[in-house]
Symmetry: C2
Subunit: 517 residues, 2 copies
């Protein structure tokens, strides 16, 4: 260990318990409402975490909106930003299909009255030569069994590939077989009802009249629809022409029945989404462009090598809006809790013109685009690169987490300097002889240009290095006795542990080069 | 007009209709869900608005967190960031007093079944020598009248000072007088009920069990409480010592019965809040420090002169948590819709130790701080500078809005370059002779360093200038025939309309100086 050439650590060997402990200890992520016993599925970001999350969000905004990439034709891609509300007119979610279809199948236990996600149950086959195999619980007449089976079928794949907590698979069940289900809290089998759909959107009430159904609204389950409903406003108020994209970051909410895996599946989360509008004939080109570009982007932030996977969806996995499109891909990361498997970080999908069509119809408004060059009127196709900000932060944290038994901290966070929450630290060796003053001055100079730079004059230098290793600060500068005589400082490299002396007035240039800033 | 020495325009003379029209036309602010008829109290930010809002949020974060100010003792103030959830354990809002006390008084109309905010009704005195004066509607026995009168009394001031829409004041009403109230939609007086409290928090339901009361949660009505409940986690995970601050920006929600005045009183809005923890003996010092600093900060962004007001609250105006504190001030802006009066932009309040005390008690946890220097254990006092991000954006827009009949656009947006959403624009005079290529190259160079820089090769140069005047772009650079021979460009100043030629390779330095970047 302890040298720059170290290969990335196998994520399966990293302990989520250790990672979560470090996140709490060093102020990355806290349980929300911890002093009240928490609240399931919600997480707060501490000082380091808030800055890390902001750095990732800003990097995305910079690379997508203010300094957009070069497109497949050699020109800079045209993208503008947006910031739409979490609460919208509920008709938006009727048009998008979320009111009708955005749901999980749930079963109730007749004994305990508890409710479970159908695909999270332990199911045991009662008899037959497949005894021991796990099956869904099905009851009722043939028609309803067939219906239920169909409903459950689409969860089959997800369960096996995506969901390590679940020990249940809904496999082929012949009409003669009888399977029984055991809920997590009961020992008597057969107490569970058939699955029923439960909508994942958080409901709320607008205004003071208090009538629940009449004034029901929803917290958005995705930022994407906020873009579609503003597509015409953006066209009318800017000079963008198809092909172009609209980008936004923001909170979204899903009432997950069983939030889990730290911040990976939480109920409140932040997305970074682009909806890219193009001529239907160019879908394939733009789909491939965005898919490959987004994969490289995550690599550029340090998620390289074996822990990243670009996975093209099979035809039968495609969402309803993507059936006719050029394809859907997931950019997946090997989290410690999915290893050796992968978990989704970003999805890139050709949504066809599904959403614009729906809103044109439900909003009774014309959303067609007149293309002057082609002299053609059409509804653009949409390519959507949709990334999870919290998942990105979690992947960066898991990737950075590097055990090293030789260090006092036993672990260091190997963040890519571009997104590291703390860019540098300045330490006066002792609190006298003007060292703190020189250090303070250096800190003020550096943070004007690079952002978060710490100053620490307490404890032994070893303890200070250890703290900075745990927050992933790439460079520490120490002011010591020699600084007073020859105007040099020691710079210590987080990854190599190498120390060298450089001139005090070259620290800013040194950091600028190392941070690429 | 049309010269740099122009004094700021009287805001009372600016038309909100014109401002809102420009906001829509140029992509600053759109009505949320417009294609579905909107949704009352919600606004989306278009490309220019999203960038303006981000610039203001980033300026605040930079000036408060990454490059904190020099405090009253000459040292840099210690502040760390946070990013807590919108949804928390509902006990947070019981402890903070929001479940019990965060409400507006509402009255129902027995005739139409409509519900109104009590302080927004038109009330007419029935008889007596004060006929024609406006009074509250009161009925019932003496006790309930007295109670209702007391409840209404605190709204008296607000109505007169803050609320231009309201034509009603609850003045002294003797026991013999009978006042009747007319709701907005009826002509028969006396149909309104007594006021009842209506909670302003948006409710929602957590999880799938569907029991409303058991699983009720709330959207946060302020970001402040997310800081208080993480105060101990921050102390434990960082090296901050009292005095220090925790800062966060984020969405908050209030179920306003009558949202109004564009984005000024909306139901979904964003806050920028600092909770600054200090020894109780130093409250006065820090209160004055933050009050004055925050006032200067808004001035530095261009809200100068007569349109800004620092208003110290009277004793009887103080919130429950601020009764014993060093004071509360509002930093107020003269919006066109409040002129000649003012509307709140930021509040600076000494919240005493009210919130920490409440959470210590309700969370059954110790939140006292041990001060090593003083050898003393205490609950810190809290000074809170709490700013509205949307209100800040609206004030910047109203201030920037400058009618000028001599320009083709008839109006220009005089944004301070630091927060201007578009920093510069590059125009090739014609689309030939390599001018577009030179322009594109310049755009790419400039936006790497300064952010949003537009490129526009369409229409006459006058129309392009007009568009940039309306988005408030401070500098336009034109590539023309001379550029090809002598490598100079024309730079046009938004405010003075002056044009000068500078060398192409000095454009970046020119902008850096002008933007202070």
């Amino acid at each position: 260990m302890s040298n720059a050439a170290t290969a990335s650590i196998d994520n399966a060997a990293k302990s989520m318990t250790d990672i979560m402990a470090l996140c709490k200890r060093r102020g990355f992520i806290f349980q929300a409402s911890e002093i009240y016993g928490g609240v399931n599925g919600f997480w707060d970001y501490g000082p380091q975490g808030a800055q890390l999350k902001k750095n990732l969000r800003d990097a995305w905004w910079n690379d997508c909106v203010t300094n957009p990439p070069i497109g497949p034709d050699g020109d800079e891609v045209s993208i503008v930003g947006l910031d739409s509300c979490i609460i919208q007119n509920p008709k938006v979610w009727e048009a998008s299909g979320h009111v009708g279809g955005f749901s999980d199948p749930m079963v109730d236990c007749r004994e305990t009255k508890n409710r479970y996600r159908a695909d999270h149950l332990m199911c045991i086959c009662e008899d037959g030569d497949r005894e021991g195999l796990i099956f869904a619980y099905l009851e009722g007449d043939d028609d309803s069994i067939a219906q239920t089976r169909k409903k459950l079928d689409k969860y089959k794949k997800r369960i096996i590939e995506d969901d390590k907590l679940c020990t249940c698979a809904f496999l082929e069940l012949s009409a003669n077989e009888r399977a029984i289900t055991v809920g997590p809290d009961v020992k008597i089998p057969g107490t569970l009802t058939e699955p029923r759909d439960f909508n994942l959107m958080f409901p709320t009430i607008l205004g003071a009249t208090g009538d629940w159904e009449e004034n029901k609204a929803y917290l958005r389950p995705e930022t994407a629809q906020g873009i579609f409903i503003n597509y015409k406003n953006v066209l009318d108020s800017t000079r963008v022409k198809v092909p172009f994209g609209i980008a936004q970051t923001g909170k979204a909410f899903r009432n997950e029945v069983t939030p889990r895996n730290f911040t990976f599946r939480s109920r409140e989360f932040e997305q970074m989404e682009i909806e890219f509008f193009c001529h239907p004939d160019e879908s394939q080109k733009w789909y491939e462009f965005w898919r490959d570009l987004r994969m490289r982007w995550w690599e550029s932030l340090g998620l390289a090598g074996d822990n990243l996977l670009l996975r093209e969806h099979d035809k039968d996995e495609l969402a309803h809006y993507a059936k006719t499109g050029a394809g859907t891909s997931d950019i997946e990361y090997r989290f410690p809790f999915t290893a050796p498997g992968f978990g989704e970080l970003e999805g890139v999908a050709d949504r066809s013109n599904y959403d614009l069509k729906q809103h044109a119809e439900h909003g009774n408004t014309k959303l067609e685009y007149f293309d002057q060059e082609r002299n053609e009127r059409y509804l653009p196709n949409v390519i959507e690169p949709s990334a999870g900000l919290d998942r990105g932060v979690l992947a960066l944290i898991c990737e950075a987490f590097t055990p090293d038994p030789d260090r006092p901290s036993k672990v260091f966070m190997k963040f890519n300097p571009r997104i590291a929450p703390t860019k540098a630290a300045v330490f006066p060796l002792v609190k006298k002889d003007g060292m703190p003053e020189i250090g303070k001055k250096l800190q003020t100079q550096l943070r004007k240009r690079f952002g978060a730079v710490e100053f620490d004059a307490k404890q032994s230098i070893g303890k200070r290095y250890a703290r900075m290793d745990e927050v992933g600060c790439p460079y520490c500068f120490t002011i010591d006795g020699d600084t007073l005589t020859d105007q040099t400082v020691t710079v210590r490299d987080r990854d190599t542990l190498s120390q060298e002396r450089i001139a005090l007035d070259q620290v800013e240039g040194f950091l600028a080069e190392k941070l690429g800033a």
